[in-house]
Symmetry: C2
Subunit: 190 residues, 2 copies
């Protein structure tokens, strides 16, 4: 998606081979016109996939996902990052470890907001090692729900997430794909 790639070129800051700062338009300050366009682009791409619900993870996935869901006329469900396992039968949980941040959390979804009849579109800001996306996949397995697609704003193609999702036969649609990067340098897939 040209608008997003242009914005990354203009304002994205590559700190090293793995960390890209996009806090002026996605993570901290949010460019709402761009997020609405991104939502519209996902809605257009996935319109014939029979999607019944959009899911994302708190908190930087919410802005693009809520616009996508709005454009599709669907509800959004925001997966919570809980610090502890919740006992009792009301939620599905799946453990996610973030190598880069050194954190670990339980991706949490209330059972009442998902059913085996659902066909879900997952939207997130980044796809790198695919830990959050795999947590989502595991939650859908537990719920018996179908995955209709995965929409990503920025994919770091040189990390393992994309291949992992491709190997599962999932339809992954990334708006900007970065082939490699380093301090002050970003190369997109052509």
């Amino acid at each position: 998606m040209k608008e997003l790639i242009d914005k990354i070129r203009a304002e994205g800051i590559a700190l090293n081979e793995e960390v890209l700062k996009v806090d002026s338009f996605i993570n901290h300050q949010v460019d709402t016109v761009l997020m609405d366009r991104i939502g519209e682009t996902f809605a257009e791409h996935f319109k014939n996939h029979g999607i019944t619900k959009v899911l994302t993870v708190e908190s930087s996935g919410i802005a693009p996902a809520v616009f996508a869901a709005k454009h599709m006329g669907l509800d959004l469900v925001v997966l919570k990052k809980s610090t502890s396992k919740i006992l009792g039968g009301e939620v599905y949980q799946s453990t996610v470890s973030s190598f880069t941040k050194g954190t670990r959390y339980e991706l949490t979804l209330a059972k009442k907001f998902i059913s085996p009849e659902d066909r879900v579109l997952f939207i997130d800001d980044f796809l790198a090692n695919g830990q959050a996306a795999m947590g989502f996949v595991q939650l859908m397995e537990k719920a018996g729900a179908k995955i209709g697609g995965i929409g990503i704003l920025i994919e770091k193609s040189f990390q393992s997430g994309r291949k992992m999702l491709d190997d599962l036969g999932l339809d992954v649609y990334s708006l900007a794909r970065i082939r490699k990067m380093n301090e002050g340098m970003i190369t997109f897939e052509s």
Copy 2:
């Protein structure tokens, strides 16, 4: 706002005198049509207040705030809940204690996203004891920015937040005001 009050009557669950669950349309599952209407309502109310930027707190304020900012043609800035004080001169921070949840965090805003020329609209899902809103007020004082208004989805008028903000002379606009509640019972301000 009639649509929101109707939705709270239909799906909100009052657990006791203080806790109202709205996780089927605001906090966990998000009704995107309603959030867009809420954003439009805030944009309409605050259109002549000279607002330059919309702010909210992660993560349940993001959905309504991003629609409000979009309708106003403005950027949104999402205040982060950091668990630690960040040293160095790049951020403003203000400590927020949540009595109900027993948590404490540093409301965090990067200096580069706010200036003394800004006139800010703060949007949040709940106003109860006003701790998050007061954290926001303190951040604006530190930044030397002006407060153009505060937009709240659900105000618990019987708690202290509303009075505290009124005493500061701030323009607080709440879409649903709850006068009292108890298990299974919610009474709105007429």
